[in-house]
Subunit: 248 residues, 2 copies
């Protein structure tokens, strides 16, 4: 199911860091990161990266692929909390709170940078820039979750779906997974359902409605945003910051 590959991306030549979406990093911090990273983990689509009960003491950054955080109630109802894309930190709650109340699953085949959790403290002790980045990343996650909360609490299914599509499009675009109206969408309708808090049946109908209005088109593994302005208006969309963000 999972395997550690011998070939690893050197942090100094990290392909993510080159992207304009991310802040550049100076020598000392970059050296630390290189040392902080102990390896890479490649998992197949569907594999569990972190599980609620199982306290693997790891902190990861996604290097390539899609994953998602999710949580279940005792009777099995599941809710997708957030997606994770390249550059997103995975396992922060576990690393700092020493407790995690959600699981993380790979959506596509995914490669993660593995960090030594026992060195987390030296980030704070010796690398204020990186420490600030940790807080920054956590605050950004909060902002995304705030958006989900107002979606689930106030928006109708149609609005929610529109919002989610725009949100994912923007995040994907920053890391090169979307562009020119097309979002590479490796998720099934049931993933969308779990994120939106509606049933798969209703997700299907709602997607159809957006297509009939010619706002999007949905084909296997791809969503095309046909009328962004109309979608934004329908969803009452508010984009998250477009500024370069820190990468750990």
């Amino acid at each position: 199911m999972t395997e550690t590959v011998p070939f690893q991306t050197n942090c100094r030549a990290c392909p993510l860091r080159q992207k304009p979406a991310f802040r550049s990093l100076e020598g000392k911090e970059l050296d630390f990161i290189s040392d902080f990273k102990t390896g890479e983990l490649t998992v197949e689509a569907g594999a569990t990266i972190l599980q609620e009960e199982n306290k693997t003491p790891h902190l990861y950054t996604i290097l390539e692929g899609w994953a998602f955080r999710h949580k279940a109630l005792a009777d099995g109802r599941r809710q997708l909390l957030n997606f994770a894309l390249p550059g997103d930190l995975v396992g922060l709650q576990l690393a700092v709170l020493k407790d995690m109340q959600h699981s993380v699953t790979a959506l596509t085949d995914t490669t993660l940078c593995v960090f030594q959790r026992d060195k987390v403290w030296s980030i704070f002790k010796d690398h204020p820039t990186l420490a600030f980045s940790m807080t920054w990343i956590a605050a950004r996650e909060e902002q995304i979750l705030d958006g989900q909360i107002i979606s689930l609490g106030q928006r109708t299914a149609l609005e929610r779906l529109s919002y989610l599509i725009l949100h994912l499009y923007d995040r994907a675009q920053h890391v090169g997974y979307a562009g020119n109206q097309a979002l590479d969408a490796p998720f099934s309708q049931s993933h969308l359902s779990d994120a939106l808090g509606i049933t798969p049946v209703h997700t299907s109908r709602t997607l159809r409605k957006l297509q009939e209005k010619e706002l999007i088109s949905w084909s296997k593994d791809q969503i095309r945003v046909l009328d962004r302005d109309a979608l934004e208006k329908l969803a009452s969309y508010e984009s998250i910051s477009e500024d370069p963000r820190p990468l750990i």
Copy 2:
């Protein structure tokens, strides 16, 4: 509406810090905090502490009272994102992301410690313990928001209400605002509605149902938790960490 009071709580004698719910702090960090705090702000119930558009560059900690973070859609639909109780940081997103997409309003008369935002960086540069605390606090907020998301996405109104009551009871108890089954509940049913994503009418009916089942009793400004076990089961409740937490 708002006023700065001359009498201020000295951080070294902070009444919150005495409570077992919070971690104690050593000399150097405590000195810094004392210096970091520039004043206190006391606002009346209903006053706006931070507003989405208005970028007051302030970071606060609640010293006394209840507040809440909230967010609205373009057409006026409102969603309460989270409550804030003594010891909770307010304005973190603004402080680190320099962008805030929600507002914060006082629920009761509230006193806040005001920090100098331009000294935020020195937390990271010179006080790793406090820097870690910032990240810790942000991660805890994430955890709470995760809980809200699964509530809004998966739980019925009755389950949601039960969950919220237990959640608020526990948080309030840590800071002395609840105990012996009774939660001092300074919020109206419409506040609950905004948090739960249901209408006030339905909130009233749902509260009534919980009372008929004799799980709670609701009287003006007070909720009594009559049958905690049954509530936990109904809500599929999962408590957040009870460990002492950092206080800035």
